[in-house]
């Protein structure tokens, strides 16, 4: 007897008919069981379906539709707000530095490429210094000392219709040694 049939018995007893009764008589009283297979399969399918659906619901339950975390896309004012050099205004709020070079403006994502600490901007030495393992970056965020493997990543920047700078720290531009450098990609900087 197959597994399926065994299951069938759990859900429903036998469904006798006159014919069955005779047959039973014929085969020395032993009942021949002919369950309504399709119906039972359907039922089980539905039950397991329901359970599966519930599993899915519970999974989904753990991913709320909104969060109250700081935004990863935000505006930081207009280009004229930034003088030449490194601007640390938004380090606290968004963990970025806005760097204004003579001809372009870009945003460095303040995360050391070594182990992800947040470096500090040392105005006097004109460099970023990582407190964790002493990686040093120049004002462009290019590493020149310490264990950092590559320059600090840069965040995506663009101007919106109101002319404000929109930063997106979800889209980072890297410049790894030996790999093509993305710092000059469209969106990695703004021309000012």
């Amino acid at each position: 007897m197959t597994d399926a049939e065994a299951k069938d018995h759990k859900t429903a007893g036998t469904a006798p008919t006159a014919a069955k009764a005779q047959k039973a008589a014929a085969t020395n009283g032993k009942p021949v069981i002919e369950p309504v297979k399709l119906r039972r399969r359907v039922i089980w399918a539905m039950i397991w379906g329901f359970v599966a659906a519930n599993a899915f619901m519970i999974m989904r339950f753990f991913f709320p539709r909104t969060l109250f975390e700081p935004k990863s896309i935000f505006t930081v004012g207009t280009p004229p707000d930034f003088g030449l050099g490194v601007d640390t205004r938004f380090q606290q709020a968004y963990r970025i530095w806005v760097v204004r070079k003579p001809e372009r403006l870009f945003v460095i994502y303040a995360r050391c490429t070594h182990l992800g600490c947040t470096p500090d901007w040392k105005e006097s030495e004109n460099k970023f210094k990582c407190p964790c393992h002493g990686s040093g970056y120049d004002s462009d965020g290019i590493n020149f000392e310490g264990p950092a493997p590559r320059p600090m990543d840069r965040a995506h920047v663009e101007l919106n219709a109101q002319g404000q700078i929109v930063v997106d720290v979800n889209r980072l531009y890297t410049c790894e040694r030996g790999k093509p450098c993305h710092f000059d990609d469209e969106g990695a900087y703004l021309v000012v």
Partner: protein
Amino acid sequence: MDWHQLWEIAAAPDNIPIVALLFLVPFYTWYGLRQALENDRLLARLESDPQMAKTHHRKTFPFKPGWPREVHVWPYLMRIEFLAAIIVTFILMVWSITLNAPLEEPANPNLTMNPAKAPWYFLGLQEMLVYFDPWIAGVLMPTLIIIGLMVIPYIDANPLGNGYYTFRQRRIAILSFCFGFLGLWVLMIIIGTFIRGPGWMWFWPGQTWDHNRLVFEVNRDLHQTFPFNYLVPNHWIPVALFGGTVLALYYLAAGYLVHRLMTGNEFTRKIYKRMSLLQYLTIQFFFVTMVGLPVKIALRLLLRIKYVWVTPWFNV
């Protein structure tokens, strides 16, 4: 007739269970009693016909010789439980989809809800607050109810009706339980939900729940009511004594009636004989106390009597 009001109450999400109760309780009462009466009829037949009594399988359910007296739990019971589970789940889902669990204004201690009602299953007790001091309604009664329920098996000396529905063999037991469960518990809840409006005032169904409604009620203590106000000097000692006596009298009188009930016919006497003294007294106490509630309620609602027994420390 203010149908809108009625609908408002009935449709309030938190009252749905009570509405359900309105249908479920009567149904199951009927369902159970029907079984009981069938069994009683069977019993009657058996008693009238000793021959049958010997052979009969003594159930109202059909039985043929050769049929197994016991069946496998798997699948015969399992499948029913399974079915039940599915149906309950279905009911619960539909209920939850169609009706939202209530969520009102953020809690605000400075703004009292009117009426402020306890969860529905405690409304019986809240209703009791009208007739009794909080320490009775809120503390003593629940305790007594719990204890009372717990001792039932130990005070019910009737060996019959164990494991089958019957009315004839357990008249007193069933009646008194129904009195307690249906009359004092479920009914009170229904009153608390549908009848008690703003200010915990009594609104007949279909009466508009008016926050500004004014009613005139003067509740006097028993000893102040005519003619006692002449008899009882207005000092706490005589007052307390008077109330105490009245209460004592009630217990005696009611106790006597209960006794008559318990020794009403020869069957009950038989059971009475089986009782130990302790059992007897416990039954008396709980029975009389239980009956005391409607008495007090009646006194309050009909005769506007506030307290029977007034002492400086507590009132009854």
